[in-house]
């Protein structure tokens, strides 16, 4: 189990979190410290970039990482379990990274700069964090499942990727706008059903991927 977890962290979490951190640092430094508005636009897109990276690295893990691990003698149950654990850890790390990045302009006294309102909302109100976490988890679950679909049915995989992107863009927008809406309607801005649907979809994708890992054939 420990070997699988280490392998997953190396192949999925470290690259996804590392590139996200690099993106956050560059957009922060150039957008605020360097005062280039162009990079401030990038900065506000950070949650979507994190979603892209988590999705892509999860897909790459199922298309090549699983085979590599199994070919080196990994136990299938350990690999499936570490995927769930690794994706949850990835979610926590990336939510923390996004929120901390959102707090930097205020901490650094760059509040005179414009166009970072969306990220500011994320930093001041924790109500959007669970939604953000669910979107990040869903990105990894859907990414892993899309990778799996690509192995057997490339077209289906591409369709899932396209559908997910349309959904993810909307969900990230909803997540970061929750605090703004909540200021006007303090009583829950989003129906619980939405959280349940997103959580349910994440679990479904993870279950399907885990089931596949248990029967996967290394080629």
């Amino acid at each position: 189990m420990k070997r699988c977890m280490r392998f997953l962290l190396r192949l999925h979490l470290l690259p996804a979190a590392g590139v996200s951190l690099l993106f956050a640092a560059v957009s922060l430094l150039l957008g605020f410290w360097g005062d280039i508005s162009f990079f401030r636009s990038y900065y506000t897109a950070l949650p979507l970039v994190v979603v892209v990276l988590l999705f892509v690295f999860a897909a790459s893990f199922t298309t090549s990482g699983v085979s590599l691990a199994l070919s080196m003698g990994a136990r299938r149950h350990d690999l499936a379990a570490s995927m769930v654990g690794g994706f949850l850890l990835g979610t926590i790390v990336c939510v923390a990274l996004t929120v901390l990045t959102a707090m930097v302009p205020a901490l650094a006294g760059w509040t005179d700069r414009d166009t970072y309102g969306v990220m500011l909302l994320l930093s001041i109100s924790p109500v959007s964090w669970p939604m953000l976490a669910l979107v990040y988890l869903l990105a990894q679950g859907a990414g892993a499942f899309a990778g799996l679909l690509m192995l057997g049915h490339k077209v289906l995989g591409v369709i899932l990727i396209a559908l997910f992107w349309a959904l993810a863009s909307g969900l990230v927008f909803v997540a970061v706008m929750i605090p703004a809406a909540a200021l006007e309607t303090p009583l829950g801005v989003l129906p619980v059903a939405l959280y349940l649907i997103l959580g349910g979809l994440s679990v479904l994708f993870l279950l399907l991927t885990g089931r596949w890992v248990l029967r996967a054939v290394v080629r």
Binding site: R3, F7, S60, S64, L70, M72, R75, V218
Partner: protein
Amino acid sequence: MMNETGVLKAEGVCKSYGQNTVLSGLDLTIQPGKIYGLIGRNGAGKTTLLGILTAQNTMDAGAVTYDGQPVWENQWALDHLCFSRELQATLVSGQNAQRVKQYLRAAEDFLPHWDGDYARRLLEEFQLDPKKKIFQLSKGQMSMVTILIALASRAPITILDEPVAGLDVVMRERFYRLLLEDYGQTGRTFIVSTHIIEEAASVFEDVIILDQGRILENCPTEELVAQFAYLTGREDEVDLACRGLQVLSTQQMGRRKTCAVRGEPAALSAAAGAGDVDLVPMNLQKVFVALCGHGDEL
């Protein structure tokens, strides 16, 4: 009851891909401390069999055990096996952009007997750049990575699938030397699947011949080769000499006839001495063709 220490065993293994039956009721025993050669025609099921032996592939029926314990989902058993597969330049997601060092790190993560120092020495000996991506490697270099992982794994049972594919003759000789050196030092079991039969024949202590999903032979190479020969001479003399022997194929040129035959070595010698016929021994490659040629013999 047979001592099963270090024995890898497959019993009644069946595997189909859709309507295509690849292995049917296959039984195989791999004894510890030997170098096995696994030979078979394209599509005979070699890679499928090796995948099933190491739990990298599923099976429809049967059982695979190591040391008497099931291999499937058994980390202890899996830790004793290493199946170093042929690397692929392209994956379903596109080019195989993983770097050599990522493969080596994965091997380090998962293979408990991994010898990092030996891996580095082999990396230098093969002049492989660990930063290179797999799709940037030549076919021969990919084979070198496969060999490196297999040898440095130090696994008690190490399996190589087509390790010399794409290697030039100098590298192939170097591989056989490394294999024998390792075997001399560790005495571990190797299973090497190959199509370059004659070159590797002297390395194989035992040979396994797989044909149409079943094991035709699993015995010491010299013992097997000694049972096969060509008998050549006048037709009536050859026919006479062939009595009591298994005739695998015949070829007639005018009044001269050549038969590929199988029998006990003593029976072969006796057949040759009985009349005016020539006895020409076969090499392993000829034996393989005689057994699996299905009409393409001689």
